[in-house]
Assembly symmetry: C2
Homo-oligomer: 346 residues x 2
């Protein structure tokens, strides 16, 4: 008999939670029951799952008493408070926040890269940062084939990673500017930071708050998480993270240096062609390259603009695009749940 699971979604009414619920409906998970949880403010809302109306409940420690799999995406403070309680009550937590990502006993997993790490879980599994996930998914097949020495990434990130309020701000601000009307930024670049700036028709080189070394937390996440997921602290990673006026779909301009000599751009393409979860879109003669607007709503990571550096024999440039709410968040979480089941871990 197939095992069946009681699955909870924490942050069910948010931008990522909404995607998780849609993906759960079609996931390779035998679901016996779902529980949708949120803050007190959103509790009582009605959501639909497989045609059935489900009332959202306030998330409390007791909410997890009967849960097998708990998908958390309600912000770091909610995870810090409730994820250990959920794990203690027997649920396997898949946490989409940064709360536990760098904790030693918490696997940080992109299934295409390191699903074996799930075996070592102690109740909490972390879903990496959106901008990291799509990058490592695209770079892992290259690393496997040719080694990976160095990564320099500049991101072009969509606002939806900052939630529904950020999406609304981008739309309303765009309309105000088109109408030549005044507007007052309230959300971007970081809801909880001191100053807010125009995001419509602009580019903001700040995602998350700044750390003491003048990198942002987002940039440090990309640097540290890449090393943890690829299980190689020797990989040199540098990141500049930038928010641009796109609703969904992160784009990344990535420079890499590989270990092996004499590799061509065609060999890089060949390594990506049949890689799991990766779609090669690379035909410059026909203007084929990944675009955020095309990637939005899709689960895959799209890679194009692959070309050899003109000076560094082991250097290559790539353009990597994916839906930050799907592969960057909800879909990767669901994939982790599916992998736990497939590997017989739960």
């Amino acid at each position: 008999m197939t095992k069946s699971y009681h699955v909870a979604v924490v942050g069910a009414t948010g931008a990522v939670g909404t995607q998780m619920i849609q993906l759960l409906e079609k996931a390779a998970i035998e679901i016996k029951q779902v529980t949708f949880l949120s803050s007190a403010r959103s509790a009582g809302k009605k959501l639909t799952f497989k045609g059935k109306e489900i009332t959202v409940q306030e998330a409390k420690p007791e909410s997890f008493d009967d849960i097998d799999i708990a998908l958390f995406s309600a912000g770091g403070s909610v995870s810090k408070q409730l994820a250990p309680q959920a794990a203690e009550r027997g649920a396997v937590v898949i946490d989409n926040t940064s709360a536990f990502r760098m904790a030693e006993d918490v696997p940080l997993v992109v299934p295409e890269v390191n699903e074996h790490a799930l075996k070592a879980h102690h109740g909490i599994i972390a879903n990496p940062n959106c901008s990291t996930i799509q990058m490592v998914a695209a770079l892992e097949p290259i690393r496997q084939a040719f080694g990976l020495k160095r990564v320099i990434v500049s991101t072009y990130q969509a606002v939806s990673g900052s939630g529904v309020s950020a999406i609304n701000e981008l739309k309303e601000q765009s309309q105000a500017i088109l109408n030549d009307e005044p507007f007052s930024p309230q959300v971007m670049p970081v809801k909880g930071d001191k100053k807010h700036y125009q995001i419509a028709f602009n580019a903001l080189p700040q995602i998350d708050v700044f750390t003491e070394n003048d990198y942002t937390y987002e940039e440090m996440k990309m640097i540290n998480e890449t090393k943890k997921i690829m299980e190689d602290d020797a990989i040199q990673v540098a990141a500049t993270c930038v928010r641009i006026p796109v609703v969904s779909g992160h784009s990344e301009s990535v420079y890499i240096e590989i270990d092996k000599s004499g590799v061509t751009a065609d060999q890089i393409r060949a390594a990506l062609k049949d890689a799991p979860g990766v779609v090669l879109q690379d035909d410059p003669a026909n203007q084929v390259y990944p675009q955020a607007s095309e990637a939005a709503g899709k689960k895959e990571v799209f890679v194009g603009r692959i070309r050899a550096d003109l000076d560094q024999p082991k250097g290559f440039h790539l353009w990597i695009v994916s839906d930050n709410l799907l592969k960057g968040a909800a879909w990767n979480s669901i994939q982790i749940a599916e992998s736990l089941i497939k590997q017989g871990i739960i």
Copy 2:
């Protein structure tokens, strides 16, 4: 007695031409007469210069008979045809297109970097590509102080570099998307290329058409022009050029490696602090960094997010922003004219 000049603007009704005319009104150039030239299609339009109405005339070889300084910004084919004719008739041409930039006998000049090169002109002087100008203006003070070995740039470029039709497309398409109405891309990424794509709420990794090595012409311009302007073919330059939904103001995420050892980010900041044409905006603790929306309408190049690479002792990251129509085009052309006069070349 101060010398006075008859100045022509070719492409007077375009996005850059309009800026040139406004800047000419306040330039350090004694102007005895202006002549505004355009294609036959725009001829007859009336423009204002210092409160006086001037009728735009069709540009022909004879138009340049009495001209001292001819500012060209009407596309490469117009420059190819008319700039040599203008120079033959005694005008000094300052050409904003790519037509002559890499020609050996044509100086390619950013006054803050290489104004001495103007002395060697033979009638035509080239204004570099917009994305190149702001980068070399910001990097030259660093090169002077510490040497420059390597540059890797990813751009976030505004649409206004593609002219008025691109600006209109971005605005109309943004409105259509906000209204959930259909739209049909006609201009972006490249007016003359085969396919056109959505630019509103998107990022397009193509500026200008592709070359045979899978880099775009824009990318190759940044690579080749940087070496020519800095007069150093040994500098390694790599570029990925991306169009984003911004009206005016190019942003650039730039990684550099310098020659000197033991240099700190503070020393890089010090080198830029009083550099000509450069404004340092770098205070992460107070969320101060350059933004396209703030740079638009200003003549300077803004630099921030300066930080040391975490692995490479000679590596640094910077965020460089400037108005692509001003320092990237019209203002740099006017500066070249001012420098020609200041240096007694004309």
